[in-house]
């Protein structure tokens, strides 16, 4: 419990680490989502062009 409490600074210390994790998670998710979206858009366009008579 002492390690969690961080003397009387637990709220400050843990909120900084939590915020860092959230920022990393957002960036990881955004990087994957944007790639997937752009790849799919191109894939749809390329395949539509290929099947066009």
């Amino acid at each position: 419990m002492e390690a969690i409490a961080m003397d009387k600074y637990g709220a400050y210390v843990w909120s900084c680490f939590a915020l860092t994790f959230v920022v990393y998670a957002i960036n990881e998710w955004r990087a994957r989502a944007r790639h997937r979206r752009i790849y799919r858009d191109i894939e749809v366009r390329v395949k539509a062009l290929e099947t066009r008579p």
């Binding site: 003397d7 900084c16 915020l19 920022v23 960036n27 990087a31 790849y39 366009r45």
Partner: protein, 250 residues
């Protein structure tokens, strides 16, 4: 050397290389962060003045370093794009800006949270380090807004590269603000004259986190540049062939 450089700058080559390299940055980066964070939070001794509050250093300092490193990458890439007209370098500059903005925000937020118990305030408008770091965030936001406001990619690349290069002056101010002016922010700790002004037990986890954050940042950047390359090259033959190939590399 030049052959290697030109091959690296080729979009299809970079697209494949970035996918292969990304895990080699991410996995060691996460391992270093796990070591640095655990050791920094639970093994390193408390500071004799700040007690356990100083442990915020293990996320604040790496994010502050990265905020400046990202801007350096953005300005150099923009400069290379302007001078040598390399397509890949503009893609790098465009991809690094949002990452730089996030890490600048993180350094400001963690610094503010650290400032409350130590300085008795969340924010000090007259502090040169805080203000120059805030200007750095505005430079990133301005850079992204400028890009978004110009439809023509080539024109957006040139205009934003000029802005990135002009903004380099602020990096120098961020770096030396604590030496040039009186500041609430402490002076150099790791790069202090005469060696690091921090005990080895506290220093090693910090170095591990700085390197770990940089590697994870590198992995994110590789993937973001890869996506930027894919978007810019969406009408080219190699992208068409890649999508139609049986392996269908993503």
């Amino acid at each position: 050397m030049w052959t290697w450089f030109h091959k690296l700058a080729s979009p299809p080559h970079f697209y494949r290389l970035a996918k292969a390299l990304s895990p080699w940055f991410l996995v060691p980066g996460l391992a270093l962060i796990a070591y640095g964070t655990f050791t920094g939070l639970f093994i390193a001794p408390p500071d004799y003045q700040q007690g356990d509050a100083y442990r915020i250093i293990y996320v604040h300092v790496p994010s502050a370093y990265l905020s400046q490193m990202a801007y350096t990458v953005m300005a150099i890439a923009g400069g290379i794009g302007l001078i040598w007209r390399m397509k890949l370098s503009h893609a790098v500059a465009a991809a690094v800006a949002p990452l730089g903005a996030w890490f600048t925000f993180l350094s400001l937020a963690t610094g503010s949270i650290w400032g409350r118990p130590m300085w008795g305030t969340w924010w000090e408008w007259g502090d040169p380090r805080m203000m120059s770091q805030l200007i750095l965030l505005f430079l990133y936001l301005g850079y992204m807004a400028l890009r978004a406001s110009i439809d023509d990619t080539a024109k957006a690349d040139k205009a934003s590269a000029v802005l990135a290069l002009v903004g380099v002056i602020n990096l120098v101010i961020v770096r030396y603000s604590v030496e040039w002016w009186s500041s609430l922010h402490q002076g150099q700790t790791i790069l202090a004259e005469g060696g690091p002004a921090i005990d080895a037990e506290m220093l090693y986890p910090l170095l591990a986190n700085i390197l770990g954050f940089a590697l994870v940042f590198g992995s994110l950047l590789l993937r973001r540049v890869r996506t930027e390359v894919l978007y810019r090259e969406r009408r080219t033959r190699w992208v068409r062939e890649m999508i139609l190939s049986p392996q269908g590399q993503t």
